[in-house]
Symmetry: C2
DNA sequence: CTGTTAGCGCTTTCAG
DNA sequence: CTGAAAGCGCTAACAG
């Protein structure tokens, strides 16, 4: 049977209160009794029950983290960063997989609430107004990974997406490209909006016009079919992809159709996922360090928790262009 | 303030017991009162507290899952499978990242214990005798993902690693290779042992001798340096890698050194991670479906939980060879 | 069908 | 410095 605080109290001939004090490192216990209690705790292999503890303290030293897809390394890194930071601060994390489903996300939040988590870290990818409202109404401390628009200010950490996209496209322009496609996959969200803004900015600031028909938001297959069907005049010489995953699939499909990268088509992505640096891929991209963001996100949350954080924090980091071979430079 | 079962009881003019019955779907409540209570629950946005519930039922409907590295998609898939199966059965999972550290793994188990999880699913990669003993002594229901040797029988699900390795190497032999290196990275564990056995078996059954100096267990850089330094006589014409990750890094390092794949060197991996199928990689490998295993693992655990599972279950699936281009066949 | 009551394991006043 | 006792939110007999 499981050993409880009462068991060790009995064995030691002290009260449960005293045992509680020693496991909580209270200094109002004689070193002598402390030692005696510790010995029994060890001997019994006693592990204080976090749930019971949480019930009485209303704090579980646990934060929840919700991501759309754990098996996507992009989010894996986010989790890793958050987990490490949490662990270093004596916090544990509960990870939930929302599957890019806003309904599931809301349910996940409730699950987390029902477990008395102290706060929540979540990706912006699967969140909507309703969820935000719920968070707000229930006064749940949370921080978002990614940019967001909401009627109230919200804590978040994110790379400057617009600027990142601008830099990526600017890089292509500097290499002489004028017909640059924007490839995405039905991401009708704020993030896509921001990156598209950056894309446009690069054109504007270089006195260039965006050519018609180069905003491609179909499936990869469709997009590539589309590109191939264009004649030399229309066909883009470069692609800026919404993210690395999309860049990679386009590269794959293009090469299958005999279009060489970077000779026939320059490609730039966004995120700098690990595989982007793989030798036969060498994708030029914008760094978007999720691991660091996970860490930062937890730190903000911790700050809120400790200091009744009234002021919201919004951290936007400067993007970094990582030049590799897929854009043909160097 | 948070709303509790008492709040809704008061509001409804019923006892907490009745509310409890309603949220637990007991059929000993009039439809009428049930409806009335439900309405208030909704109105108040009442979410039953899982921890408190667990405290009194001694069951949290939660299972823990411990993997070495969440940001590795291999484990990500495992988690995904387990999470889905759990979720379908009304269970939640707590994911812990052990970082390939057996000490941390043991601590993680205690964390899970302190949270009253009903059982644990864990990867075999970061587990040792001491941990197994702890699990056993504390009578924690658990199932392992991967093969294991232990003094008592243990629940696990795994692909047949020996047979998988044998098939992989056999495939190379059939393609005419006689000098086949076994590349690994200081994995002095049971898993490596099994796969190495399979490697040997393939040689034996084909009446071939294993050449000396082809068991490479250094870093990738060292291994490749080693290979390059060999003269034509000694140099292997093919590599069987302990897993896909190792296969990929070797491929990368080899190509950097001007050795073409598969022309100059055939490569076969193990695991069939998602990226193995990527067009410019096309790694021949052994399928090792983690997602399915995660699901299966949860099901076994559930069976144990529901049926006081006295008999241990060991599921070993038949491996499948996935032929792509890296071995030069077809 | 419903209410009362005694815990689940732990923390936290309040006394002493 | 230590103990007794109330209570965290919920469930589960036991009565009625």
């Amino acid at each position: 049977m499981k050993v409880t605080i009462r068991d060790v109290a009995l064995k030691c001939g002290v009260s449960v209160a005293t045992v509680s004090r020693v496991i909580n490192n209270s200094d109002q216990v004689t070193d002598e009794t402390k030692k005696r209690v510790m010995k029994v705790i060890d001997e019994f292999g006693f592990i204080p029950n976090t749930n019971a503890r949480g019930l009485s303290t209303r704090s579980t030293n646990t934060v929840g983290i919700i991501v759309p897809n754990v098996s996507n390394p992009f989010f894996g890194e986010l989790i890793e960063g958050a987990e490490r930071a949490a662990s270093e601060n004596g916090y544990q994390i509960i990870i939930l997989n929302s599957g890019y489903n806003t309904e599931k996300t809301l349910r996940d939040i409730m699950v987390l609430q029902s477990r008395d988590v102290d706060g929540i870290i979540m990706s912006t990818a699967d969140i909507d107004e309703k969820t935000l409202d719920h968070l707000h109404e229930n006064e749940i401390p949370f921080v978002l990974m990614g940019p967001i628009q909401y009627k109230y200010p919200v804590n978040y950490v994110s790379v400057d997406n617009m600027e990142g996209a601008r830099m990526a496209v600017e890089h292509l322009v500097k290499l002489g490209h004028k017909k640059i496609a924007y490839c995405t996959e039905k991401y009708d969200n704020y993030l896509n909006q921001l990156r598209y803004e950056g894309y446009k900015k690069a054109f504007d600031s270089n006195g260039l016009e965006i050519q018609k028909g180069l905003y491609l938001e179909d499936s990869v297959t469709e997009n590539v079919k589309n590109i191939i069907s264009m004649n030399k005049e229309e066909r883009p010489t470069a692609i800026f992809a919404f993210n690395d995953n999309i860049a990679l699939s386009h590269m794959e499909a293009l090469e299958r159709n005999g279009i060489r990268i970077p000779e026939d088509m320059a490609v730039v992505g966004f995120d700098n996922i690990r595989f982007a640096s793989y030798f036969s891929i060498q994708l030029t991209t914008i760094d978007n360090r999720q691991e660091e963001f996970g860490k930062k996100g937890f730190e903000i949350l911790l700050d809120i928790l400790k200091n009744d954080g009234t002021k919201t924090q919004q951290i936007v980091t400067k993007p970094q262009l990582v030049v590799r071979k897929s854009c043909g430079s160097k």
